[in-house]
């Protein structure tokens, strides 16, 4: 049994806005085993980013973690003080955001920013910090690290900036790296480079990886385990291969049937309707207004997240009777 790096239990993170309480994450549970890259997949408003930010303890106002447990190597992060959290966030848990432009300071050189991170986590001389920075840049495959150190973020391409952001997240040799849509703003050939880099680093550094994305293609390539989120709740948890070949939740199946593929033309079946508003989410199962298999029970009763064997979990009243096949 591999070690559990992160365990999230019944996490609820709400945003208390003037318009009402937005239940962005409403009872999300999952766990991450060592050496098994985990994909958090969902559309906008599914709560995937808020889940990631909750783990890091940086939920922006007016958001707040209302209840739940986040166990990182057995320690409940929600019981830590802000001071104690600083020993986890950025140090043992690294974070790479979607937009490298906003996460890098335009006024400082790349070398400056990285050495700041290096010296924050560990006392060392200027010389040693410089060397560490060069090593980090080399680690993320940046050519000519000595010259690149002197560059400002705007002088670098998007792919290069994302590599710098990854280097910074790795500076303190974290046990867990959370990458939130790390390639969304990048071109497809650059995306392939960054994904390959993440895959290699995960192996080389013996680090756990959570990849937050909306792209089923990236999930198929990168993740071993997948958590499918919909409207702030977990729809399904499965190993990647099984999720794609035998989805148990109607949302997963519909999502798989709705994405075009580059390797063949297929019959696309769109999911009708829109993503629900989370101030007044649909009653019962949140997917019911868009679900083809909806019955009365789905409207009145919230389906629990059930373990169905083989490490799989699904929250659907009808998973046993439904035979969901995704046609190619």
């Amino acid at each position: 049994m591999p070690e559990t790096v992160l365990q999230v239990d019944d996490l609820k993170t709400y945003f208390f806005t003037e318009a009402g309480v937005v239940r962005a994450v409403d009872g999300v549970s999952f766990s991450l085993a060592k050496g098994k890259p985990l994909g958090l997949v969902g559309e906008s408003g599914s709560g995937k980013t808020v889940t990631a930010l909750s783990v890091l303890g940086v939920v922006p106002r007016p958001g707040r973690i209302v209840s739940g447990r986040i166990l990182f190597k057995g320690e409940n992060l929600l019981e830590k003080t802000e001071d104690e959290m600083r020993g986890f966030r950025g140090k043992r848990i690294g974070y790479v955001s979607q937009d490298p432009n906003s996460s890098l300071d335009p006024l400082f050189t790349v070398g400056n920013q990285l050495s700041e991170v290096v010296t924050t986590h560990e006392k060392m001389s200027k010389e040693a910090a410089r060397e560490k920075v060069v090593d980090l840049l080399r680690l993320v495959r940046i050519p000519e690290p000595e010259t690149r150190m002197k560059a400002y973020p705007h002088e670098l391409s998007g792919g290069m900036r994302q590599r710098i952001a990854i280097a910074r997240a790795l500076a303190s040799e974290p046990d867990l790296l959370i990458a939130d849509e790390p390639t969304t703003n990048l071109d497809v050939t650059i995306q392939a480079q960054v994904l390959e880099l993440l895959r290699a680093l995960e192996r080389e550094l013996d680090m756990s990886l959570i990849l937050v994305t909306h792209d089923m293609g990236i999930i198929a390539e990168m993740a071993e385990e997948v958590v499918v989120l919909y409207a702030g709740r977990v729809a399904e948890v499965a190993r990647t291969a099984e999720l794609f070949s035998d989805p148990k939740h109607p949302y997963t199946a519909a999502l798989l049937q709705a994405v075009p593929r580059v390797d063949r033309k297929r019959s696309l079946v769109p999911i009708g309707g829109n993503i629900p508003n989370l101030i007044t989410p649909p009653s019962g199962c949140r997917f019911h207004p868009r679900c083809a298999y909806m019955i009365d029970r789905c409207v009145s009763e919230i389906p629990p997240l059930e373990a169905i064997g083989g490490g799989r979990e699904v929250s659907c009243h009808r998973w046993k009777e439904l035979d969901l096949k995704v046609s190619t």
């Binding site: 290069m160 291969a241 075009p260 593929r261």
Partner: protein
């Protein structure tokens, strides 16, 4: 063979680049956004235009509609020169030209006037082109809304009351209001969520088939291009790298760039393991594009000739055009 609906001949669009001095602005070069692009779009067909950012696909789309002035080249719509007609044609000819060609923009948040109701947005075309009698406006707006999958009551609402996918439907309804023959759709689904994307793609598909509208579908997303196009153009740094019908270009690409681009796209199928061709480096700056073949610094097949001579776009098989010196090696 019937003449194509749209003919693009050697289209060029450069953007000057200035360096700001203390007193004077000095021109230091040009961005070669679109650099000699030629292709046809047949009646009732969707042609996909794909490429990475900075390859000139959006600029090409705008220059074709004469929304931005081109530097040289010619665009013919139903045999008539677009620019000539819009500049010097009679009032009627100009309006007829604009009526026939429409555009759907990438960002459904920026392309709809927030102070107009959906009814006003769609019926504006009737005011300008006067092709619908006022007594029929309501009916026509309702039928357009129905066509794009919206409801009648949506007509009285404002854009902010809609989700991104619904807004994109409104943009499409607005484009359809003039009864166009040709629509440039510039990344119409890239800002939408996955589940909503398929709705818009199937809508475009049905419009192309049922209303026989031709589309130029501009996108960086190869999967969606494969889904809805009949022909595909691959662009790189302002040049066409390859042109063929959709199955041929996706099954037997002959340009190393196309091959690499296709292999880089993640496929939602964990069982499929193919060796990725990882391209080194980034897309070079279009201000000083590499000499010879523009792809040569990143190309695994590059030889000396690629650095010196620009490969012409040549026909290798019927209907399959490739700009590569070494395309035969991939056959």
């Amino acid at each position: 063979m019937p003449s194509p609906l749209l003919e693009v001949r050697d289209l060029m669009k450069y953007f000057p680049v200035y360096e700001r001095g203390i007193l004077i602005k000095k021109k230091v070069g040009d961005v070669h956004a679109v650099d000699g692009v030629s292709f046809d779009v047949a009646k009732g067909e969707t042609t996909g235009l794909v490429g990475e950012s900075g390859c000139g696909k959006t600029t090409a789309g705008k220059a074709i509609l004469d929304l931005i002035p081109k530097d040289s080249g010619q665009v013919l719509f139903e045999g008539k020169d677009v620019h000539e007609t819009l500049e010097h044609g009679s009032n009627e000819d100009r309006k007829a030209m604009r009526r026939g060609m429409q555009m759907v923009f990438q960002n459904p948040y920026g392309s709809l006037d927030p102070r107009m109701t959906v009814f006003d947005i769609i019926s504006e075309a009737f005011i300008i082109h006067r092709h619908v009698a006022k007594s029929e406006w309501k009916e026509r707006v309702y039928s357009l809304l129905k066509l794009v999958g919206l409801e009648e009551y949506h007509a009285e609402r404002y854009p902010h009351e809609f989700s991104g996918g619904q807004r994109q439907r409104i943009s499409i309804a607005r484009a359809l209001a003039t009864e166009p023959k040709f629509i440039v759709a510039d990344e119409p689904v890239s800002s939408l969520d996955v589940s909503v994307r398929a709705q818009i793609l199937t809508l475009l598909q049905s419009l192309q088939q049922q209303e026989t509208i031709s589309f130029l579908y501009i996108s960086h997303d190869l999967s969606s291009v494969r889904q809805i196009s009949q022909h595909v153009i691959v662009m790189y740094l302002g040049k066409i790298m390859e042109y063929a019908d959709v199955d041929r270009i996706f099954e037997h690409p002959l340009n190393p760039y196309t091959v690499a681009l296709l292999s880089a796209v993640p496929v939602p199928d964990p069982e499929r393991k193919i060796k990725k061709i990882l391209l080194a480096g980034d897309v070079p700056s279009p201000i000083n594009p590499p000499s010879g073949c523009r792809f040569n610094p990143r190309c695994p097949y590059a030889t000396d000739i690629c650095k010196q001579t620009e490969p012409p776009l040549r026909q290798l098989e019927s209907g399959h055009l490739v700009a590569c010196h070494h395309a035969e090696k991939l056959m």
